[in-house]
Amino acid sequence: MTSAGGFIKAIESGSKHLLIKRFTLRYPEKKLKFVGDGYQFDPKKGVGIAGSRGRHILFHDKCTGCQLCAIACEGIAEAIGMVKVDEQWKHNKKSIMPQIDYGKCVFCGLCVDACPFYALYMTNDYELSSFTKEHLIYTPAQLAIKPKYDGDVELQIGVRGADHG
């Protein structure tokens, strides 16, 4: 009766799992840890640095308003538009900086690849929900803030199975 054997093995396998730890990550009490600081791109070497692709961070002291990020995004999601800012920088004669609409952004990171001045990186922050669509458009001032993300849970593989902390 091989079918009886098959059933017994299946029951055994299922019951074994009552002793294995649950795999679920209890978000939002626990959040995952990311290695590194976010996706960055080195235009001199022409290669990116591995990191998580979340919200962008714009360094106002490097951005020259060259619009290359907006041009790169035009074919993809049209999420970057250039707006005039009040600040006066020596390297930014036209005083324009990108504003990003996270309702359209697909987080591909090609804008980061396009920037030749080390001004646009991506960070670990992915919790970007808001109540209105207008709040999703991040102005250059909002993009300059470094986010605080304190996730510290990692996938651990132990004797009693893998689980998230």
Partner: protein, 385 residues
Amino acid sequence: MENEQKIDETISRGLEIVKEAEEDRLMTLSVGPQHPGSGHFRFTIKVDGDYIVYCDPDPGYVHRGEEKMCEYRNFIQNIPHLERPVIHDSTNITYSYSLAVEELANIQVPLRGQYIRALASELNRQVYTLYWLGIYGIFLGHSTMFMWPIGDRELFIDLLEALTGARVTHAFNIPGGVRNDMPEGFEERCLRQVAYFEKRLAEYEDIFYNNPLFRQRTEGVGILTKEDAIKLGVTGSVLRASGIPFDVRKAEPYDVYNEIDFKIQYMKTGDSYARSMVPFLDMKESCQIIRELLDKMPKSGEVRAKLQPNPKGPAGESYKRVESGRGALGYYIVSDGTPKPYRVKLSVGSFRNMLALPFLLIGSKLADMPSIYWSLNYWPVEADR
């Protein structure tokens, strides 16, 4: 002459069926998009008691004009756009595109970039196959077989997240290589999680593949013989389950696959059980390939060829294909010397496997419909592009 006779016979049989349906003997069911067992796809079946006598697949619900939209973007901007048809197998669908563009524009990819590309492709293959396996389990009513693969898929999504930066929408392959190098500590993490995953595969066998109820439902169901498989032009795991050991990675090796030693997994019976077993065996083999790739990878080097911002090549055409989760996925790109392609044709495995669906469903029982339909590895979004 014979062909015409056959066509006449088919037409008259079809008319007969329609007449019977109108006389209320057959029942027309629309396994339509509003059905828990169909995905974004519709097929109309006519049922005589418990037997299906007529099947008419109706794709096109998710058609977005991917191929046309490619003509408005340059070669690099096409990457996030072209990974969307099969988003959970995104590395493979952009892999083939990158290979085709590299052939067009004569770009040389550095060796470490090729290895990382192959590694990401194998990891993504695991992700896709686990998703497929999960849905197959729930189609047969086995909710545990849905939860376990989707849970274990997290292991690989975690790795891909560390490697590429995004969980599912990788946008990692690019004409010229990959976008970034591996982060620190990636190799140990990868090896540890792959070793744990192989233990989990043994559990799947216990509870699902050797379960007598599963075997009763899928053995001998929807048999696709070798000759029929070749005539219908199916590809991927469906072809390998009918006894033909064809894998694009072995038949036309691309990148570093001619240096990796692995066996093509195939089964001879051609029924639903074989079609559900072959991806599982592929997963086991993939774990070996991942280990070998990590072993043979050059320890340092460039991962991306340096290109001008808008790469373009001379006018010409190229065709390249890779082995994705569903079969051979090919791109035929025609370029006219500008940074935007003139024509991109995407040839996917799902659309070709769909031909086997009416062929296998007619004559089978209604209860076999989910096990045949999903074992053909059909992903509606990819078939519609």
